[in-house]
């Protein structure tokens, strides 16, 4: 049960860590390709409900995923496909949840980004995203009671969720309990259509860290190397017992809130600013500059990602959808206490 404390290991010089960078880039790429596939399936009417993409946030997300290990816990936000894939989510889980396959973890009961395997460290978000942070605290709290050390929990949210009471309660709770929580805020400039000027009045959300008595760090969310360093270091510090860490990444959501949203309201000046740089493109440029990958290698990786995605979708499209006649329509784990449906009139 007891895991040994790991040695803090900084990734201060990313140019010495090509393997980590490539691993993160390939998670970003797979996420982008899969997200694009979800968008086209949605446009073709093959997906019920919404589709929420991580476009522009893949670098930050992948940096989290590659820094996590088995035994860690991750409560992602809705744009964290890259981080989920880089941590431990099988590609089939996302496809099955979007397409409603009964073989997926949510079995058609919940959809799209609302998926996870809580017993394997992947928390399944509810829509009130700030509420997930204290659940991560609870996992960490329980691990401590079980004398398990050397693991971390990461919760992510956008600028919008930082305005909720849940966010405040949970960060304060983590700070009071000195839990190994890494809170990553993707300040993507808009919560649905609401710009940050209507969301918070402090200079930067990282200033909140002072109020909780925890360290806070800012990072350029379009720069994979910076994300790997800042997020990776925060995770190393939390893992080493240095308590909660806040990371605020500055970036721009390069899509609508969901695919139903054309995001006409996004300020064109933001799009042409440094925040509007596509992190995937920037990572590709960096790979070539460092000579870690040439055009042929990049094309090969993309081709492999496309094949992975096509295979997963083809597999899931042959799987059964949920059947209301075999659905249990019961909600309790304690079956003997079930009641409720018998009060409905029988037809």
């Amino acid at each position: 049960m007891v895991q040994s404390l790991v040695e803090p290991q900084s990734v201060a010089d990313i140019s010495s860590a090509p393997a980590l960078y490539v691993k993160a880039y390939r998670a970003m790429l797979l996420a982008r390709v899969l997200d694009d596939k979800f968008a086209s399936l949605w446009r073709a009417g093959k997906i019920h409900g919404g589709v929420f993409l991580g476009r522009g946030q893949e670098a930050l997300s992948a940096a989290i995923g590659v820094a996590l290990r088995e035994g860690d816990v991750f409560a992602p936000l809705i744009r964290d496909l890259a981080g989920r894939l880089a941590f431990n989510e099988p590609i089939l889980d996302g496809v099955r949840t979007y397409l409603g396959s009964t073989l997926g973890p949510m079995r058609g009961r919940d959809g799209n980004v609302h998926r996870g395997r809580p017993g394997e460290g992947q928390l399944a978000m509810i829509s009130h995203l700030g509420a997930m942070i204290s659940v991560v605290n609870g996992v960490l709290f329980a691990r401590r009671m079980k004398h398990i050390t050397g693991m971390v929990g990461v919760a992510t949210c956008g600028d919008g969720a930082t305005s909720t009471g849940s966010f405040h309660e949970a960060l304060n709770q983590a700070a009071v309990e000195k839990l190994p929580l890494v809170m990553v805020v993707a300040d993507n400039q808009y919560a649905y259509s609401t710009p940050t000027a209507q969301q918070f009045a402090c200079r930067s959300l990282v200033d909140r860290a002072v109020g909780y008595g925890i360290p806070g760090y800012e990072v350029d969310g379009t720069d994979l190397a910076a994300c790997l360093r800042v997020v990776g270091d925060a995770i190393v510090r939390a893992r080493a017992g240095q308590g909660p860490q806040l990371v605020v990444a500055h970036l721009l959501r390069l899509c609508g809130h969901g695919e139903h949203d054309d995001a006409y309201y996004i300020d064109p000046q933001l799009k042409s600013s440094a925040l509007g740089v596509d992190c995937l493109k920037r990572a590709e440029d960096f790979l070539r500059q460092q000579s870690w990958a040439d055009a042929g290698t990049l094309a090969q990786w993309r081709s492999e990602a496309v094949h992975q995605v096509e295979d997963a979708v083809a597999t899931v499209q042959r799987e059964p959808p949920p059947d209301p006649f075999t659905e249990t329509w019961s909600v309790l784990a304690t079956a003997r206490l079930a009641e409720g449906n018998e009060v409905n009139a029988r037809s």
Binding site: H114, S134, V135, N137, E342
Partner: protein
């Protein structure tokens, strides 16, 4: 030797902690201080590291409990007053109540709600919350009326693999006594016939069981025999025992301390009317608190909630129909 309702709650928690290393208690002032009502008195010392103070953050308290439950622990959360659980409402009804259904991972948390009106407590330290939690699928809602049930149902709550809202009535804390802790108990989900009778069924729960029993005694002196059904748990609701009683008496009055709109009394009447219409010799009636916040002053408070006297009046109307 006698034991109070409050002491039974403390004793049940002590036993749960002793029996199962996965159990811990988390709440405001529950540690060395022993809780606002002393329901955890001495437990922090007896069980080091397992009875833990929380910041004033009901949302985060509930969230932490859910996370710990995912990790296989069995937390007991004390809300200082039931009224404050509204701050944790989202975590309870959206996170805890949906977890098993969504993910197949059980969420065995027990949320203790010191509930119900006491004189002088006012609108925010007096509420009864059972109806609003029972409305949501995925939650078990318990409303013990006796010392024995306070003990045995709290022990069972900790064992149940689902979120349990444990509504303990503050008015019963100090005055309700039993000779000893029970050695056996009805399981959760079974109602209890608290008094047998042939003329009218009064269905009730929590502190209103005692007001109803007092009313039955008054009516007995007039020659009426009132059957009092103590629901014990409002969800699941033991419709069979209620229907069986109404089948014997033909008349039904439901009494609850909660507000009148919706809730447990209307649920019971809906079920009996829909499924047992032919059993009824008179229109079923219900008696609840008045539809205002709970008032502070004793004069107003005493008139806000059902009492033995108002239950007698309501019962006579059903009996004389």
């Amino acid at each position: 030797m006698s034991i109070t309702y409050l002491e039974a709650i403390r004793a049940a928690q002590a036993r749960a902690l002793a029996d199962d290393p996965r159990v811990f208690i988390y709440g405001q002032d529950v540690g060395a201080f022993g809780g606002a009502f002393k329901a955890t008195k001495g437990l922090a010392k007896e069980f080091p590291g397992r009875v833990l103070d929380a910041p004033i953050s009901e949302d985060a308290m509930a969230g932490l409990a859910i996370g710990a439950a995912i990790e296989g622990l069995r937390p007991i959360i004390e809300m200082q007053f039931a009224d404050f659980s509204t701050v944790a409402f989202n975590q309870i009804v959206n996170q805890a109540a949906t977890l098993f259904w969504r993910t197949n991972v059980p969420c065995p948390i027990t949320v203790r709600l010191p509930c119900g009106a006491t004189s002088g407590s006012g609108p925010f330290h007096s509420q009864t919350m059972e109806a609003i939690y029972a409305h949501y699928p995925g939650i078990v809602v318990l409303t013990p009326a006796t010392v024995e049930d306070a003990y045995s149902m709290l022990l069972e709550a900790v064992v149940i693999d689902d979120p349990v809202i444990f509504c303990e009535h503050k008015l019963l804390y100090y005055h309700l006594k039993a000779e000893a802790l029970p050695t056996e108990a009805l399981p959760v989900g079974k109602a209890r016939i608290a008094r047998e009778g042939r003329d009218l069924t009064v269905v009730t729960y929590s502190a209103m069981v005692h007001e109803s029993l007092a009313a039955a005694e008054v009516l007995h002196s007039d020659g009426w025999e009132i059957e009092v059904v103590d629901l014990r748990s409002v969800k699941p609701l033991d419709t069979d025992t209620v229907m069986g009683s109404v089948a014997r008496t033909g008349r039904l009055l439901c009494v609850g301390e909660a507000w009148p709109w919706g809730g447990v009394t209307s649920e019971v009447i809906a079920r009996v009317t829909c499924e047992g219409y032919d059993l009824l010799d008179a229109p079923p009636q219900r008696l609840n608190a008045k539809d205002t916040p709970v008032p502070y002053h004793p004069n107003l408070w005493a008139a806000h909630r059902p009492t033995a006297r108002s239950i007698v009046d309501a019962a006579r109307k059903v009996l004389q129909y």
